[in-house]
Amino acid sequence: MVTDTPLLRVEGLRTALGSDGNNFDVVTGVDLELREGETVALVGESGSGKSVTALSIARLLGPRLRTVAGKVLLNGKDLLSLSEKGMRQLRGRDIAVVFQEPMTSLNPVLRIGAQLAESIRRNPVAASSVRDRAIALLKSVGITNPESRIDMYPHQLSGGMRQRVMVAIAVAARPRVLIADEPTTALDVTTQAQILDLMQARMAEFGAATLLITHDMGVVARYAQKVNVMYSGGIVERSDVQSLFAKPAHPYTRGLLNSMPRLDRPRMGRLSAIEGLPPSVLTRPKGCPFQPRCAFRIDKCSQKPPLESIAAGHEAACWRAREIASLPLDDQADAPAMRSGS
């Protein structure tokens, strides 16, 4: 089902904060590719620029942010060069977004049926069948009693229910690309599993691609085929999901995986935390942005490493990526590596 030409290709995306002349890059040049039927994860911590990347792609940036360079090609057409009107026609129908907070993205004064109908009508459909389609959609995202829930307002639904409605609205127009920005972060783990399962099933049905933005490596492992790890505005590692988890090549990815307590491993005495804090756009260091926190730092890290291929389908932006990818994934291995590196 996965074809060779990407459905969505993002090239050199740069989005900056502040008015002209006073630019701080929040997204520092991101390339991404989504193919038909694929779920691609974009992982990172708060402030890494992953949500701004998503908003830039859908052209939903607020007034303080501006995309200053790059291309967003959907089926070869550059979204960044479209007029606002042209973009509006495309949004929802070709590219849909699910946000983390459904209470702020649903219209509080419209019944959910009306909000679903708006999305259903993005494609030609007989007026008489809209309500039935809406009920079927609600049912397909696991909402019980859809016949009565369709006439409710968002505030009458629970958080999990609202997020299901958001997913139903997003998939209603059968978009080619779905951008899901932390779609289940505020929800309980049982609800999260239901919603992500349903979302993935709906998207697989019509071979669309999903950009799944999350901070949860467990969600990545379960739902994604490819992963982009983002740190301080740029992608530091990109790989198919298996080799990222088996052979993480960037010290940050490695640190993330080592710092999580895990249900599938024996209990450890102490977590190996990444010390320090991620930089803000104002304090981003020269060279590699991760170097102040990095156990593998060498002199060369004062120059920014490019995102380079280290194995088939696996890229990393680290001068020591090959060496690091070959290390076993456990805490002890990092200590000698740190000594030889400094």
Binding site: D188, A193, L263
Partner: protein, 304 residues
Amino acid sequence: MKTQPILTAENVCKYFPGPRSGRNPSLAVQAVDQVSLKIAPGETLGLVGESGSGKSTLGRALLQLDRPTAGKVYLKGTELTSLSNSALRPLRRDMQMVFQDPQSSLNPRMKVAEIIAEPQIIAGELSGKVAIKTRVEELLDMVRLPASAASRYPQEFSGGQRQRIGIARAIALRPRLIVADEAVSSLDVSIQAQIINLLMDLQRQLGFACLFIAHDLAVVRHVADRVAVMFLGRLVELAPTDSLFAHPQHPYTRALLDAAPIPDPVIEMTRQRSAETFIRRRYPAEMTEVRAGHFAAPSTPEFL
């Protein structure tokens, strides 16, 4: 448990007036219903459950921040629910809380030094400029913040650093029990690990017991000696950590474990997850001991 528990809860209930309850208490929302548990000195009891299950309400009821509707709570043998607020005050030093959101739980108009010295000043055990400065520096050092943090305001710090300030305030009176209510839940993974390590180091150093409320099962398994699972206001399972994760009894506990994604794509690909994760809302029955120290509510067939 051979030693006297730090905290004992017996049939603690916390009801809130419901939408249609009026004066009829039987229609009240039973946020916490008939919860009994014990926490030993120095022990960490994990408390998990979905949002709305009553875990935060239970934590607050145990500390008498919200008075329980019924039931008894003993702190080192002293019954708390029958005490007046003023009689309770001297006992509060032994039980402190760390909140989820250090942004809203730290006074933005107070400098960090004032925030963390305040509990001891109010308790009357700290006074004088030099003594306060020394103690503030000591506390900051314990939570690995630089002494220069003292003269700054909480909003000048990142989320993880603010949580360190909240912890410094909580440990200032050397409490015997800390209730950590989703204390690491809103932090990024790399910062979360730092704060978990800090809490565990401080616990080893100071010997306080901890009620660790969280929804992340992997985090709870890492920190807790025993784990309690809460569902619809009741405990449905209470067991030593290894026993709970190796032999989950209650369908809700199993559903939680099933739903938690494992950060390993190979495991996830081959993992058998029960297709039906929807849980019918039915009040769980009382727990019985199913293994040594492992209590669980019976899984009635109509539960799932």
